[in-house]
């Protein structure tokens, strides 16, 4: 920049028009790299996926494309496995997101106190997030083993019979959710912590003078102050839950999400169709339905958040 500026000063006659033109163009050139990359790796795949979803395409014979129109989509709507995976995505999403965010909130609240070794504790919180999905899932799969797993061993000590953490619908979904919870709680806690620290301490002092207990402070000062942060984490977790893939895939290494599809998520079903059965067209249709689903979910989230803040403002 400084170089360019000084160069222009040296040649004054041509400068005004050129400079004006540059001023107009320059913002676009600055953002161009991002948008070029986005067009190549974001927009193009998105549109191409939509194109592929209208055909019958098999990975083994990619040359033969057969026009199906919306056939792939209508087939999905009457596909039992699609609805199962949609339902699983939802239940696993709730099973993992709700406890995760509640626990994160509690942990953030605790970490907000003056504790000994606070920095260490805060760093430790982030460690699960830094491990790879694959490594974490493989360890959890061992812990949840039916015959030789640690979880069943501990349950056995308190007299609860061995649970088949792979076969049961509820049991397997809890097991998969626990991996998600373990990995993301600390991450969300840190985000909440940052949000809490931006709440002015005068509010707490005032509340304390009014005789509010810790609990009341938490509910009436912390929570309202955190609302934007909570909305953000809910949206991000919802998107994450909709796309959940690695954990259920690696839990038993089965693309079908267990022998009866009991924990197959939408992402996994898409993968099974595309890379297990090689039906690329159908997989592309699932991808687009997922995309639309996420748009709707995020829209609903935003709508609720806005309605609430309107109410708040009106009060």
């Amino acid at each position: 920049m400084t170089l360019a500026a000084s160069a222009k000063q040296i040649s004054p006659p041509r400068a005004p028009t050129l400079r004006r033109a540059w001023q107009k163009v320059s913002p676009y050139t600055y953002i161009a790299p991002f948008f070029t990359l986005f067009a190549a790796f974001g927009l193009f795949p998105l549109i191409y996926t939509a194109f592929v979803s209208l055909y019958r395409v098999e990975l083994q014979t990619p040359g033969d494309m057969e026009w199906r129109g919306l056939g792939n989509y209508t087939a999905l709507l009457s596909d039992e496995f699609f609805w199962t995976s949609l339902r699983n995505t939802f239940t696993i999403g709730v099973l993992s997101t709700v406890p995760q965010l509640v626990m994160a909130l509690g942990l953030a609240h605790l970490l907000n106190y003056r504790l000994r070794g606070r920095t260490f504790l805060r760093t430790a919180m982030l460690l699960p997030y830094a491990t790879s999905v694959a490594a974490a899932t493989l360890v959890f799969a061992q812990l949840f083993g039916r015959d030789f797993g640690l979880v069943n061993y501990c349950l056995g000590l308190v007299g609860v019979g061995p649970v088949d953490w792979q076969t049961g619908t509820v049991a397997s979904q809890i097991a998969v959710s626990s991996i998600v919870i373990w990995r993301w709680t600390g991450y969300n806690a840190l985000i909440y912590l940052a949000g809490m620290q931006s709440i002015p301490s005068e509010l707490y002092e005032a509340a304390e003078m009014d005789g509010a207990s810790r609990w009341r402070q938490f509910f009436h000062v912390t929570l309202p102050g955190l609302r934007p942060t909570i909305v953000f984490t809910v949206i991000v977790s919802t998107i994450g839950a909709t796309q959940l893939f690695g954990e259920p895939l690696l839990y038993e290494g089965s693309m079908s999400g267990g022998i009866s599809h009991q924990y197959q998520t939408l992402g996994l079903y898409m993968y099974e169709q595309g890379w297990g059965f090689f039906h690329l067209g159908r997989a592309a249709a699932i991808a687009w339905l997922m995309f639309l689903l996420i748009l709707v979910l995020v829209g609903v989230n935003a709508l609720i958040a806005r309605r609430r803040s309107h109410k708040e403002a009106g009060r």
Binding site: L59, Q60, T61, P62, A75, D79, E80, F81, A141, Q142, G145, R146, D147, F148, D164, T167, G168, E252, G253, M255, S256, I259, S260, W275, G276, F277, F278, H279
Partner: protein, 433 residues
């Protein structure tokens, strides 16, 4: 070491830019020469699944010694389904393929019928002359309709029954292979014996590992399984398949199974823990048992003839993709690895049963001390001779997977067999559709 030292000197003298140049040149050198062939250095890459056992049997080392300048690099995926999926992705993209790719017999129909243009016709390199070495059916299955030879046979999977004689003894059952073979000459006899075992079995020990493996070994005894000779899907109405299904369901309902999914980590752990007394074993399973049960299992295992006659489960081919870098060298390696001498050696060390007729004669007297000195050459040789020549189809593997999944539901969740059967039908429709 010398390379590192030279590199350091270069850095000191000429700086980083020049170093980068020399390194690039050094990398480029060998592969440039490789295309000239003789005298050059070449790295042949081999990509396999499961346990082919070449490395373990020392065959690569031997080949490298015989062919100075050739280095063999192997990558291996344990689960064939994962391997196949990644191979298909790379075939579609045309990149990242190894010089030699393994192909399971359940997939060979897909290769000859759908992807004949993606693999080298090995006749180009003179594979024709090898035809007489191989069992006829093995050779025919890898030949495309235009006569192209797309792969050379490695092993076949003649079936037998492996058992833990120590566990059978504890339950008061006979442990002699001959006696067992007569007692379980039929599958009903096998289940009967299983029920007796269950009465007196040591704690936490079942008769068989999973009903999925029982089904797989039984369907291996049939000529027609999922397709008929005209290429039509017939599995739903195939009486032989129904028999295998019903027997498996009965085993599940009688509580004879340890309920372990094959190839799962739990299944692997169970070999050493003694969770099951018998396991249907195609020849290639011997190496797997040795690997999982370890030295502690030596002498405890034994092998007897299979109930209900001979069968075949699995076996493989080695193929050279069109997109491979060193096709000529790859073919030479494949030819050597599948030659009778090497197949015989592999069987003696790893248990993979030869598909080469010459090798079958060579190993007729082989025994295996790990399996209590069982005459594996005779047991598997007889099974290989008597096994039916199976009709192969494009979706064999996928259909089989759906059926074993449904059987697992019966076994592990107590799903009603009719419901599980209809689940299998839906699953197959979803897979093929």
């Amino acid at each position: 070491m010398p390379i590192a030292r030279a590199a350091r000197r270069a850095t000191v003298r000429l700086g980083a830019v020049v170093l980068a140049g020399t390194l690039l040149a050094a990398c480029g050198g060998p592969s440039d020469e490789a295309s000239d062939g003789a005298g050059g250095k070449v790295t042949v890459t081999v990509d396999l699944f499961g346990s082919f056992g070449y490395k373990e049997a020392g065959l690569y080392a031997e080949y490298e010694k015989l062919n100075p300048g050739v280095t063999i690099k192997q990558t291996d995926t344990e689960d064939e389904a994962d391997y196949w999926k990644s191979l298909q992705t790379r075939l579609a993209g045309g990149g990242g393929l190894a010089d030699v790719q393994g192909i399971e017999v359940g997939r060979i129909a897909s290769v000859t019928q759908q992807q004949a243009d993606r693999f080298e016709d090995l006749r180009k390199y003179g594979a024709d002359e090898l035809k007489s070495q191989f069992a006829e059916a093995k050779w025919a299955a890898a030949t495309a309709s235009n006569g192209a030879v797309l792969g050379l046979g490695t092993d076949v999977g003649p079936e037998a029954m492996c058992y833990r004689s120590d566990l059978l003894r504890q339950a008061g059952l006979p442990t002699d292979r001959g006696e067992l073979a007569t007692k379980w000459s039929t599958w009903d006899g096998y289940l009967e014996l299983g029920k007796k075992y269950k009465e007196k079995a040591p704690a936490k020990s079942a008769w068989i590992d999973s009903v999925g493996s029982l089904y797989s070994i039984m369907i291996g005894q049939e000529k027609e399984r999922y397709y008929d000779a005209s290429g039509k899907l017939i599995w739903e109405t195939n009486p032989a398949l129904k028999t295998a299904w019903d027997t498996s369901v009965e085993a599940a309902r009688s509580g004879l199974s340890a309920k372990l999914d094959q190839w799962s980590p739990q299944w692997n752990q169970a070999f050493a823990a003694g969770s099951f007394a018998t396991i249907p074993c195609p020849a290639w399973m011997l190496g797997y048992i040795k690997g999982q049960a370890g030295d502690a299992g030596k002498g405890k295992w034994d092998i007897a003839a299979l109930p209900g006659g001979a069968g075949n489960w699995g076996g493989s081919y080695l193929a050279v993709p069109k997109a491979a870098k060193n096709k000529k060298e790859a073919y030479e390696l494949v030819k050597w690895l599948t030659a009778p001498e090497q197949q015989a050696k592999l069987f003696q060390k790893q248990g993979n049963f030869p598909s080469s007729t010459g090798a079958i004669d060579q190993v007729a007297d082989a025994t295996d001390p790990y399996f209590n000195g069982a005459p594996i050459g005779r047991i598997f040789g007889e099974a290989a001779k008597a096994a039916p020549v199976q009709v192969l189809g494009i979706h064999d593997q996928n259909v089989a997977q759906q059926i074993t999944n449904a059987l697992s539901e019966v076994e592990r969740k107590g799903t009603a067999p009719d419901k599980a059967w209809s689940n299998a039908r839906k699953g197959v429709a979803n897979t093929i559709g």
